[in-house]
Amino acid sequence: MRLLGGQTRRLHQALQQGQDHGAGRVLGLLEGLPVVPERPMRLAQLLFLPLEGAVGAAQGLPSFPRAAIPATTALVARHLPALAAEVEAAAPWHGLADHAVVAGLGARLWPAAGQALRDGPPDGWTAPGLTPETVLPALKLASALWRRAVPLWQASLAVNPSEAVLRTTLASLAAEGPAPLAAGMAFLLRNAARPGLVASLATRLAPELAAMAEAALAARLAAEVACLAECDHAAAMAATAARLAVLLAEPEADAPAARQALVARLRREAAQACHGHYATALAARLLAPATRAAAAPPADDATVAMLEATARDLCGLEAAGRELGQQAEFERRREEALRRLARLAGNPAGLSRIELARLAEILAGPEAGLALLV
């Protein structure tokens, strides 16, 4: 959530007030605040969302010059004034992360913009600072991508898009020409859940895209695996690992050998990272506090809730991590943890035997919990 300037100032003043009075005012202010999205959905942002792969693209890829965005947005607004006004009216309340709103407005805006500019800009139209030789092909590219933007956007959002969906999407882009196909492929390689399949399918349609596709794919996969290092919590790491399990799925049989090797290496690295975090968090955030709580007088509700939440997060991380590899190592750590919980259950004090059995159940399933109760 982002606060507007005046709201920040009033919140600051309220926090400086006396404790009770100030707290009441802070709550009142927070309740009355509109939530300002991190990436507001202004007309230009929504319009150029499907052109993400083309705006400022690397050399060799068809690109749309960033400097042409304001003039092109104004041109579209001139053709579609009601729709443009509707998007701008929604902008303060919705961000590009509101996928349902983006999909709903985009489904009306993109095809209409594509149709409006199908025959190019009106005579005499220019984008400041750009020559017609630069801007006219860019406008043609944008128009083609907008016409195909709805399936492109849907394919980029799907959790696990089917081969048929990706093939149809890419084929429809290819029907618009080589440049829209390359730019659409770049968009999907950045965003879709199965970029390896996107690269293979696009390369089958246009073999000349192979080098570009493999380079973009390698960059995307490496960046995604690097995200694991930024996860400081088991739940976040589990979510990233689950995404990686789809991203790093076994490449197609006809995928280049270099990609096969890259995926295998990244899977190994990702699985190791997940297991490393699992082992550390299991020891430091579950077993150590559980041992302390078990030795002390009856644990308070907050401690038990924290232990159970940690066990739940670790169970999720294990499930996601095992999809990537290191199954035997996960198994070994988990068995060690269960033995440790069983030892604590043998002489329960601060945590009851049932509470320790519940931790084992949450971590490893009901059979593991049952073993602590018999």
Binding site: D301, V304, A319, A357, R358, E361, G365, P366, L370
Partner: protein
Amino acid sequence: MPQPVPRPPARPALFAERGCAVPFTAPLLAGARLRRQSPEPAELLLPGPGGTEVVAWDACLARRAPSLHDRQLWARISQQERPTPALIRAAAREVAWLGYAGRPAQAAALTAQRQQEAVRDVVREALAKAFGEEAAAGALLGPMVAILAQAGVGHDQLAQSPPTAAIPQGIVALQAFCASIAAFAQSAPGQAERRAASIALSAARMTLPKADACLAALWAAVAELPPGPARQAPQPAEVLPKLAALAARAEWLLDGWPMLGALWASADPAERGVLLAEMLSMLPVLPREAEGWAEDPPQDAPWDTLLRARDAVLPGLPEMPAGMWMARHEALRALVP
């Protein structure tokens, strides 16, 4: 090889055939109902994609991964000769009190138990006042207290905010559910969501007046008993079966709704559209037995039409990691102890 158990009809004839809702926490036991038709062993009825499936507990143990909580609950309820919603509630409360559903559910079970004891005290005191102390020690009032412990003794219960006895609590919760889902049905963005909401709303609206009428009839029957010393008090055999039947009817009518109401109330408003499919698969369908129990109110749709509409909107249970599911259902145990 054992013969497959035939699927039960979409609309049961009797409540005993519909079974009692059991608040299991394992995902594969979602929406379970227990029925026992002596001398047959107890069976579980589980909603599935093709309709309700009848499953033996041994099969559940092997294939449906019951939680520690579920095993404990089953151990207590499977031996009951004639399971009823009140008996299952008591067993579930005991299991939660032992800590098998976590600390919040444990605390809620303890509070609910104390509340029920307080209701018993109020009922005992009211009946002793009406019938005299001698009668209070006699054969009439003990069983009456047991019957009325779930109902309270009059409209004071419904006037309390929130009510303390289980049946008035269930009625108030169902009223709140009707109001909330009616508001949702009016503002839901999609047609499928609006249709699903109106199916759930119709089912709730067809149940609520009957439960309300049974409770009112129970309170009226108690109020009509002739007051006075023990020798003038009515005979237990004349009174108790009628009171027990009215209380049981209200219990059976409400069975399953408090859990659905809590699920709905605790859901993120943004996820309620998705939740409706799950709720429709667990909708407590009113058996034909209940048709004559109270004067039917004006209905949006008769049950058979409603069930056809439900099947058309494809009810189903969500896919969710087991740990997340169990946490959600343990949280419900804390809301509906």
